[in-house]
Symmetry: C2
Subunit: 300 residues, 2 copies
C-alpha cells in the first residue's frame, strides 16, 4: 500500500549563498500526485467509511483525492470548471476519478457540489483544506522534519485555504515546539493577511488572478482560522514578481521544478529578507504541477 512519501530535504548551497540565509528546502514536489495535498487526501480516504468521495477542485487536491480514493478502492467524483486546462482534467481522470464538468458561467462549483451531495447522501464531501482530517494529514510534514532531527526557527509555507499552514502549526503545537510557522501569501490574494490585521476572518470579494493558482482561495476555512488566528508565527505578502523570481531561483540554483504556488515560500524570503537573517529557516516547496508554457516563460 502506498503511503505519503517522506518529504525531500534539499541542501542548496548556491541558493543559500545567493539569499544570504540559513536555508533548508523541504520539497513536496515528488510527493505522490506532485504536491503536499496527497498527505491530506490519503488521510481522508483512509479514515472515512464512505465508499464514495466527492469534492470540488481544479487543482492539486483533485488529483490527490482521485489517487488516494483509488488506492483505498473508493469511488471519487471531482467537480471541475468546464474551462479547466485539459492537462489537469486528464490527470484527475488518469488517477481514476470521474470528472464532473460544470459551466461556471451558469452555476458555481460549490453549488454543483451541493447538488451532487444532495443526490449522493452516502458520499463524503471532502474539503481541500477545511477539514480536521486534512489538517491532520498535513501535520505529518512537521512530524517528519522533527523525526529527521531538523529543528528550525521558522518554517515558511504557502497559504491559500490554510490547510498546509494550519497542519504545520498543529504539528508544532502537539510536539511542544516554538517553531514559528510563517504563511507566504500572494499580495494579490491576501485575505489571510487582511484577516490577521482585522483580528477576524475576512474574505476577498473576488477570486484573485495571482500566478500562484493554488492560493487563489477567497477565504480561509473555519477550522483553519481557528488554529491560525493565534497560532501563526507571521504572514508575508509576496508580489507576483517575487513569486516568479522564486520559481526561477529554484530552477537555476537548486535544480528544483516548482509551480508558482510552491515558490511562494522563497518569494517570502525575497519580500522580507531581514525577518529571516540569522534564523534557521525551512521553506516548504509545496508542489510542482506547473503549466509547461507558463513555466518555460518564467525560467527563460
Amino acid at each position: 500500500m502506498i503511503s505519503p512519501r517522506p518529504t525531500t530535504i534539499i541542501d542548496a548551497p548556491r541558493l543559500k549563498k545567493h539569499l544570504g540565509l540559513d536555508l533548508t528546502l523541504a520539497s513536496e514536489t515528488f510527493q505522490y500526485t506532485g504536491s503536499f495535498k496527497f498527505r491530506a487526501a490519503h488521510n481522508v480516504a483512509r479514515n472515512v467509511s464512505n465508499d464514495h468521495i466527492i469534492c470540488a477542485s481544479s487543482g492539486n487536491f483533485g488529483q490527490a483525492i482521485a489517487y488516494a480514493s483509488a488506492l483505498f478502492k473508493k469511488k471519487c467524483t471531482v467537480v471541475m470548471p468546464q474551462n479547466a486546462p485539459k492537462i489537469k482534467v486528464d490527470a484527475v481522470r488518469e488517477y481514476g476519478a470521474e470528472v464532473d464538468l460544470v459551466d461556471v458561467t451558469k452555476k458555481s462549483r460549490l453549488d454543483r457540489l451541493a447538488e451532487l451531495a444532495a443526490k449522493l447522501p452516502d458520499a463524503y464531501v471532502a474539503s481541500p483544506y477545511d477539514d480536521p482530517l486534512v489538517i491532520d494529514g498535513n501535520a505529518t510534514l512537521f512530524d517528519e522534519l522533527l523525526g529527521l532531527g531538523l529543528e528550525f526557527d521558522y518554517i515558511v509555507a504557502p497559504i491559500g485555504g490554510g490547510g498546509l499552514v494550519s497542519g504545520l502549526v498543529q504539528g508544532a503545537q502537539r510536539a511542544g515546539k516554538k517553531t514559528g510557522i510563517i504563511a507566504a501569501e500572494p499580495l494579490l490574494s491576501n485575505d489571510f493577511a487582511d484577516s490577521i490585521r482585522a483580528g477576524k476572518l475576512v474574505g476577498d470579494p473576488d477570486e484573485s488572478t495571482t500566478i500562484a493558482d493554488g492560493a487563489r482561495m477567497m477565504k480561509l476555512g473555519a477550522n483553519n482560522w481557528k488554529i491560525l488566528e493565534h497560532g501563526i508565527g507571521g504572514v508575508v505578502e509576496v508580489s507576483e514578481e517575487q513569486i516568479a523570481e522564486g520559481v526561477k531561483l529554484l530552477f537555476l540554483l537548486a535544480n528544483l521544478k516548482s509551480e508558482p504556488t510552491g515558490a511562494l515560500s522563497i518569494g517570502a524570503l525575497l519580500a522580507e529578507p531581514d525577518r529571516f537573517k540569522g534564523k534557521r529557516t525551512c521553506c516548504v516547496i509545496s508542489g510542482a504541477n506547473a503549466d509547461p508554457a507558463l513555466y518555460a516563460r518564467l525560467i527563460a
Copy 2:
C-alpha cells in the same frame, strides 16, 4: 564537512504507467554541484596529497572539482574554452576555482592542460573519467542503492567518457551482483557502441553536436574501457528526439528537472522498450545543469 549527498530515489507512478515499465529513478540532480560528478571530485580531492588540482572541463566536472577542492582547502584551476557559456564559467568561479580560458581555435584544451601541468609539476591533473579515484567515487552510487535494499535487473546510466558506468559496473562486481549496467549513449556520439561492435576501443573522429553535452566525449578512458569491455550489460543508442522526449517526460510526469545528458537513461527506455519489459529497471538521472533557454524550448 560536506560529503556526497545520498541519491534521491523517486517513484513516479505516472511516468511508469506511461512507459509501461517497472521503473525507479535515482536522481543525482540534487547532488552537490548538480550532478553525480561531485562523487568523483570529492573522492579525488580527499585522496590526493597535492595542494593544487588542475583539469580541463567545460561541464559538470569543472564545477564539481572546484567545489570539492574548496572543501578540502586546495587550489583548483579549470581550463575552459573562451567561448564557454558565461553561466558555466561563473559557476566554476563561484565554487572557488580559478578559470583558465583558452582560445580553442589556437590551442586545444588538452594542450593547454599539458602546458599548465608542465608549469605546475606539483599539481594533480584530474581526469573527469579516466582515473581510478573517479571510478571509485562513482561506484558509491551502486553501494547506496544496495544499502537501501534496492536491487534491479538493470541500471541504466548515461555514458560519455565512461566514468559513471564503469563506477556502477565496479560497484556491482565488488558486491557480487549480477545487475546489468546499461550504457545510454547518444546515437550522434556513439563511440562506445562502436567500440563494443569493434571489440576494441575506438573513438569518434570529431566532437559531436548532441544536445546531451555531457556525453560529447570522443573516446572512452583507458581505465573505463578496461572495466566496461567485458563488464557492461549492454549499450543503447539514443536519438536526439528520444533525449528531448526524456527531458520532457521527466518534467511532465515526474516533476524532475534534468539536463539532456541526465535524460539519456529515459531516452534509452524509449529507444528499446522491449529490452526492459518485465525487468526491474533503475534509471540514473545524472545531472540537471541545463541551459535555461534550451530547457524552456524542450518542455514547451
